[in-house]
Amino acid sequence: MAQVGRSAKPNDVTTYLIRRVAQAILMLVIVSMVTFSIFFVVPRLAGGSAENLAARYVGRTAGEEQIAQAAERLGFNDPLPVQYGRWVKAIVVGAEYDYGPGVEHCPAPCFGYSFLAQTPVWPDLVDRLPVTASLAVGAAIIWLLGGVSVGVISALRRGSFFDRAAMGVALSGVSLPIFFTGLLTLYLFSYTLRWTSPGASFTPFTANPAKWAYDLLLPWVTLAFLFAAAYARLTRAGMLETMGEDYVRTARAKGLPERVVVTKHGLRAALTPIVTIFGLDVGLLLGGAVLTETVYSLPGLGKYAIDAIGSNDLPRVMGVTMLAAFFVVIANLIVDLLYAVVDPRVRLN
């Protein structure tokens, strides 16, 4: 296919990038405002006051005075914009926190201190990110390779036993909730057959790479199963479409080896939607694979988010939401740029 039009000038690319980055930042700001507001507005709608909100962050038999102190300490008595402004300021310049015998400086980016645990949020996020990243990246590689391969083979052997079996398995992978498959695989592979680690096993990569992989094997495969199914079906559909195109027939007629026809001409065109979705999926997962982390008891961002939401711990909720939003936005950006690389038609539009 001949390239049409002029090639993209550096100015165009720079402008495009700047515009996209600005959009990304704006998106993050909006997400933060919305999350912040929901946390405070919803209880107000139910008739709550600053004291009622503060009552959740004090002990079991806290008196009125203690609750009032907590409301003051956590800043609930200030207007919402002031509280939000304080939060933004902390991210940019840091903040000071009274831990009892003294005052601690929380350097930027300071995502605040947990209302309940009184520990800083940012170190928690940094600590938990490798767990989620390990889970996401490992599973992503497996599902991409596995799903795409199965999809390609299914498309090429359309109607065969392999095709039907593969798509059947794919259907179950998409339909079965991870909570179910997770508990089942743990019971079967970890506790009955003893082939894999029990739940709540995570070894950092830097401590022992082999054990890191062994501990994550079951969560990787289970999570990948869920996604691979979708990718197999997508790839199959895409391949069926592209392999039926005229230019593929032409390529074959030219005498190219089948392998080249499939990969360079068929698959490459079918990859575009795969790339898009892959980027989004990985971006989302980096924000926390909530169900997988919960089922396998992995101390990642997803588990952190669920615990924070369950205990109404705003600073933690804000921290993990912003990080998740950041990953999704970045993933979107990368996907859009990759799109241009994979599909020349987009490059010049």
Partner: protein, 584 residues
């Protein structure tokens, strides 16, 4: 919400299976306490041993407030922290009623009262050291207690010391008012003596001395809210690592001297505690043998319960401890027609007690049908049943109708019942009462309320519950410690009710009871005090403002390879300090 329905149906099926499968299991083998049998660790020691070594693995599905002994209010935490902290006194670590006795831990023994119970003196044991070899002195205990007074910094723990000590006016704790003289509250005449001065006499002060707030804290190592990141140990184990929200590891404390500690066997070499493990996975891991104990101690999940009750081998690995906890329903005397005692009595007579029990999970996982406020393991408990529910415990409808006639509503009346919306057992209770009370014409409209705000905003707020006509409200209470004050003071004293909300007392407004509480609090004679609490229990029940539900029980699993297992009734859980491991 298909998934929710499926889950609910599954749980329902499981419960039905569990209840129907209550086959009799071999009774605990007291002759040979090593053969696994159902409830073998309840009332005696299962698999006694003094073999040392091994790594103990604990896990729990959620985090608790803090590992800092001065900043925690969970029974499981108070049970566990005895591994790394020594408070002045300890409940005797023995099975059965023996654990009601307070014995010396850091102190040589119970305190000596003087000044009519306003002053209490304790003598510390000799030779106790912190993990760095520094000797523990009475000043460290004084500091530990005083730091808990600052509820702005250490928000979680109980407030008994702040409420009862004769602290100087304006004292706000050692962080804000470090230079104030606090000798009016606590004196340390020498390194081994500590004297507490109270605002008013309190006969049960030994229970305060038992509180983890008396675990010594070295002032120069105190980092306030961050102290939990490295608690300085006085117990047989110390922190090797601590990861917020993830878990921690305890290893042997080289400066713990067993000669100073007759209570602790300190058998394992190491403890690994993991937080945030999925609840069903904990049960599966205990069964598979990769985990020893579920720290929560509240019993197995519904899915595991049916397996345990129907599989004889698993059932022999299970115990059925009672917790000092009562699940009950408050009957609001401020809402008509419940302002008439006979209408309240009608509810007590008509309620189906077996339905209440089933709502909480039946006889094993729910508990025993309650007829008093005090659970049986609380000293002072007297059995009585003022409102017998018929021979089958399903309610005495005839007496209920008589009461209704006396209160002027012979055909019944309508009122509202509130419950915590995300607690399925409370919803089941509400539905059960709705059905059983309808038999005599009492119509209940059910009102689900958010759990987080239940006491602060809704049921616990007098203006809300009265103006919204909440006649019945689900409730539950666990004793801070096993005596009348620990159990009853927060739930039957009308002076704990605040207009701003937050009290657990939703329905008891009896001035006579308040006076009886004051009398019991001041009584230094233990036997007399316990009798008074028993009388308070009865007096409250006579007023018909509480419908007792069940004395809580749980179905717990003993991990494989555990030794020295028994339920410590002070906690209603396995005694975490005493457990050991079978050696290969």
């Amino acid at each position: 919400m298909r998934k929710r329905l499926v889950t609910a149906a599954a749980i329902g099926a499981v419960l039905a299976l569990g209840l129907s499968a209550c086959q009799s299991a071999p009774s605990p083998d007291t002759e040979n306490p090593v053969t696994p049998a159902f409830d073998a660790a309840n009332g005696q020691i299962f698999n006694p041993s003094d073999a040392k070594g091994g790594t103990m693995k604990f896990a729990i599905s959620e985090d608790w407030d803090s590992v800092d002994p001065g900043d925690t209010y969970y029974g499981l935490s108070w049970n566990l922290l005895r591994l790394y902290g020594r408070s002045l006194l300890m409940f005797k670590p023995a099975p059965g009623a023996a654990s009601q006795e307070l014995v010396g831990d850091l102190a040589e023994g119970p305190g000596t009262p003087s000044d009519g119970g306003r002053t209490w003196t304790y003598t510390l044991r000799e030779g106790v050291k912190f993990e760095d070899g520094t000797p523990v002195t009475s000043a460290d205990v004084k500091y530990a207690v005083l730091r808990t007074v600052d509820k702005e910094v250490l928000v979680n723990g109980p407030t008994y010391f702040g409420d009862f000590l004769n602290l100087p006016e304006g004292y706000q704790g050692p962080y804000k008012t470090p230079d104030m003289n606090t000798d009016s509250a606590i004196e340390t005449p020498d390194d081994r003596t500590i004297v507490f001065h109270l605002k008013q006499p309190f006969g049960g002060f030994d229970y305060f001395a038992w509180l983890p707030a008396t675990v010594p804290v070295p002032k120069d190592k105190d980092t306030g809210v961050r102290y939990k990141e490295h608690v300085v140990s006085t117990g047989p184990y110390m922190f090797e690592s601590y990861e917020e929200g993830k878990g921690f590891v305890l290893v042997r404390n080289p400066h713990w001297d067993p000669a100073t500690d007759p209570n602790r066997p300190a058998l394992p070499d190491r403890y690994e505690i993991t937080l945030g493990v999925e609840a069903n996975d904990i049960d599966n891991q205990i069964i598979a043998g990769t985990l020893h104990v579920d720290l929560a101690g509240t019993g197995v999940q519904p899915a595991t319960m049916s397996r345990v009750l129907t599989d004889p081998e698993l059932k022999a690995q299970a115990d059925n401890p009672s917790a000092p906890r009562l699940w009950y329903t408050s009957i609001n005397p401020k809402v008509a027609p419940l302002d008439n005692i006979e209408c309240r009595k009608a509810i007590l007579y008509a309620a189906d007690r077996t339905g209440y029990q089933a709502a909480y999970g039946g006889e094993f996982a729910g508990g025993d049908i309650a007829t008093t406020l005090l659970p049986p393991q609380i000293p002072g408990y007297q059995h009585f049943d003022l409102y017998p529910a018929g021979p089958d415990n399903k309610g005495d409808l005839e007496k209920a109708r008589e009461a209704l006639a006396k209160c002027g509503h012979p055909d019944g009346f309508a009122t509202k019942m509130a419950y915590r919306s995300d607690r399925p057992k409370e919803q089941a209770t509400a539905e059960s009462l709705q059905q059983s009370l309808a038999r005599v014409g009492i119509q209940l409209t059910l009102v689900p309320l958010p759990t987080g705000d239940y006491f602060s905003l809704y049921a616990g707020r007098p203006s809300y519950r009265d103006s919204n006509g909440l006649g019945l409200m689900t409730n539950g209470w666990q004793a801070d410690w096993n005596d009348g004050f620990g159990f009853l003071s927060q739930i039957v004293d009308s002076r704990t009710i605040r207009e701003s909300g937050g009290s657990s007392n939703l329905s008891v407004y009896i001035p006579e009871v308040d006076a009886m509480i004051d009398q019991a609090v001041a009584e230094t004679d233990k036997a007399k005090r316990e009798q008074l609490w028993g009388q308070i229990d009865r007096r409250v029940m006579e007023e018909a403002v509480i419908l007792p539900g069940v004395y809580s029980k749980a179905l717990t699993l003993r991990g494989k390879g555990l030794t020295n297992v028994f339920i410590n009734e002070a906690y209603g859980q396995y005694d975490y300090m005493m457990l050991g491991l079978e050696q290969p």
